[in-house]
């Protein structure tokens, strides 16, 4: 496996939305990162649709067709439908096959009739449970790969996943403000598990006209982000969430190192770091994903995006239409603004406005501003061959970025944020420089404390 030890982008200023160094071509005449931003729509199947295969197939058809109808009604040149699998879909690969097929047929019909560029991203669920037969070779594990294949074989343009390796440990660390557990969970365990998963996913996709897209650290860094919540919440420190995000950059890069080519999945807020390193196109979400969650970087996350997503929404009716219609319109209009900026040569100005709107709203936004994301990327590739060291370097660089902004009186921190940042940086600085030593330490410490954690799941 090739590890990244150099930056593909040579300057952070070269990064901008709608453009990736390595655009991806898919069927139905869609290119990602090739000079235009593609809006994405994703809808959570309604409760009850999980009862039968027929119910789920009908739900998938409706979501897709509703999106198609709205796209042509408002004149979108392109869009992507993502189907995030429910448990039953992944656990029953024949459901996956039929759902994917009906979605592909629907999209193709509109592609044929209107020449509209369409794309279908299938995202099997990572249904593995560490304490139940482990992460490797379990029934659940096999079903995931079968569902990847069923997606690829039945017309998906690309396949993504949100792997959960290391989550038991990072969850423990996030809830307790334990930076070492977070680093171990994300940087070491997450990276090991991704390698296991992604080598297999890429092999499957290559057999079909289907692109291996990417992974996100939804299970870990997003847990920190959601727990951190709004400015007045008191669950997770926003500075620690920022460090977790930086480490997630080191982790999620593994998919690309295994052969994923993008777009990296929407909820990976770490994606700008990976784009900077590897040049692959990315999906992101922000102000048009308020339906799903509240983040503190609604605009900033659009700065270097290639696919702009709503993350998730209940499947139901709004006054303005059903949610597949309404939320595709929301992401579609924002993508249209970005595409206008590209067409008129103003994309870098809009990128900078997006970024500056949120850069000092929150420490996590700060470290994901594209120039800072680039710096974190540089820290990662410097230790590119070692997942532990590069995750640690990412966290230290993120800490440095925050501290610089505080010193220049642009970023203000609460005591909670200040204390937990100092605490984390002190710990990280004092850590061993040998991966093995760190891993042994952590196995000893966390096997005892976290009942779900099983080193064998990571072949440790």
């Amino acid at each position: 496996m090739k590890r990244f030890t150099k930056m593909v982008y040579k300057d952070s200023d070269d990064m901008v939305f709608g453009h990736a160094k390595f655009p991806v071509s898919q069927h139905w005449n869609t290119q990602i990162g090739a000079g235009y931003v593609v809006p994405e729509i994703k809808v959570a199947p309604v409760e009850g649709s999980e009862e039968t295969k027929e119910g789920m197939v009908s739900e998938c058809r409706n979501i897709t067709q509703s999106a198609c109808e709205r796209a042509v009604a408002i004149g979108l040149p392109a869009f992507m439908v993502e189907q995030e699998h429910i448990f039953q879909q992944t656990n029953n690969p024949d459901w996956t096959a039929e759902c994917t097929q009906v979605q592909a047929e629907t999209l193709e019909k509109y592609y044929d009739e209107y020449d509209i560029r369409v794309s279908l991203l299938a995202t099997p669920a990572d249904i593995r449970i560490e304490e139940r037969d482990g992460l490797r070779g379990s029934d659940y594990d096999n079903k995931i790969i079968e569902s990847v294949e069923a997606s690829a074989a039945n017309g998906a343009s690309c396949v993504a996943i949100e792997t959960i390796g290391g989550k038991s440990v990072s969850d423990y660390g996030i809830a307790r403000g334990d930076p070492k557990a977070i680093l171990f969970g994300i940087g070491v365990l997450g990276s090991i598990d991704m390698e296991y998963m992604w080598k297999r996913i890429v092999d499957v996709c290559r057999k079909y006209d289907c692109r291996p897209a990417g992974d996100t650290d939804c299970a870990q860094a997003n847990t920190a982000m959601f727990l951190a919540g709004g400015l007045l919440d008191k669950d997770c420190s926003h500075t620690l969430a920022a460090l977790a995000r930086a480490m997630a950059g080191a982790r999620s890069l593994v998919a690309v190192e295994c052969g994923a080519i993008g777009p990296l999945k929407d909820c990976g807020y770490e994606n700008p770091i990976i784009k900077a390193i590897s040049g692959v196109p990315i999906a992101t979400e922000g102000k048009n994903a308020v339906c799903a969650h509240s983040d503190l970087m609604g605009n900033l996350s659009a700065a270097v995006t290639d696919v702009w997503s709503n993350e998730s929404v209940y499947h139901r009716e709004e006054m303005g239409g059903t949610t597949p219609e309404v939320w595709l319109q929301a992401t579609g209009y924002e993508a249209a603004l970005m595409n206008t900026a590209i067409q008129t040569g103003q994309e870098k100005i809009l990128r900078d406005l997006y970024t500056l709107t949120d850069k000092y709203r929150d420490p996590q936004a700060l470290v994901l501003a594209y120039d800072n994301a680039y710096r974190i990327g540089e820290a990662i590739v410097k230790y590119g061959k070692d997942p532990y060291l590069r995750a640690r370097a990412a966290a230290l660089e993120a800490g440095a970025i925050i501290n610089e902004a505080v010193e220049s009186k642009k970023m203000y921190l609460t005591r909670f944020e200040r204390d937990s940042l100092d605490h984390a940086l002190n710990i990280f600085e004092a850590l061993p420089t040998e991966s093995e030593q760190f891993t042994d330490d952590c196995i000893r410490k966390y096997s005892r404390k976290i009942s779900e954690f099983d080193p064998k799941s990571y072949e440790l």
Binding site: E59, A336, I342, T344
Partner: protein, 274 residues
Amino acid sequence: MSYDEFESKMDQNFVAVRYNVEVEGAAIKPEEDLDVQNTLPTDEPFRSIALSVLYEDRDSSLANVQKALKDKISPIEIINNGLMKGMDAVNILYTKGFYFLPDLMLAGDGMMEGVKECEKVLGHKSETKGTVVSFVAEGDPHDIGKNMVVMFLRAGGFEAIDMGRDVPIKDVVNAVKEYNPLFMTGTALMTTTMTAFPKIVDEIQKEGLEVPAIGCGGGAVRKDFVESFPMSVYGVEAYHAPKLAEAILKDKKTWKDLRKEYSKIVGEFVSEYS
């Protein structure tokens, strides 16, 4: 800052596509459509009467009907073989996307004018497929949706009793007593006026009355709300109303059937119905 300069650089194909223009077929004359040809009567005076409806010409519609009546043509035949055939042709073109709402409204005006003239001679109301009662919920002053529903129903050969807007619940219940309708349609613009619908159903049930279905739609009305009480069907487009009425009339569909088979009955994909 040069707005024009920006504009001149743009390739619209990456920003917005006017699919309506892109997919438009060649222009045809209304009577050139094959299905219209098969629908229009070939013998006079019916053909002229139907064509004046098709051409949305209220004045000529009226004149043609008056002339036919003077020639002692049966008013029933004028309605059924002339005016309604013209309207059927209009409906065909509307469904195909060649005609638009204004065409349908104006043709409908012409058709109704002719029908009234015939009824004068008949001395009573002409027969229709059935009666539908239409109202706007109490507290709600917006009625264009209801007006469209009424016109689509009349164009489809139903008698539509137009109760107006801001209609008290009691009046709606009385209308059920009076007209024993095939179907009712209620529209509301707001979340806080659509609550009249379940109250009406409740009153109807209390009175021991029944109505095969009440189609509820408009503004803020949602399917999940409408389906939270009995007898009701969530109506999505005004032009669906006659299709629902037909399904009740011909295929004896109940409100439960209409909920289940809505998409099939109206003959198209409806996002609100999975």
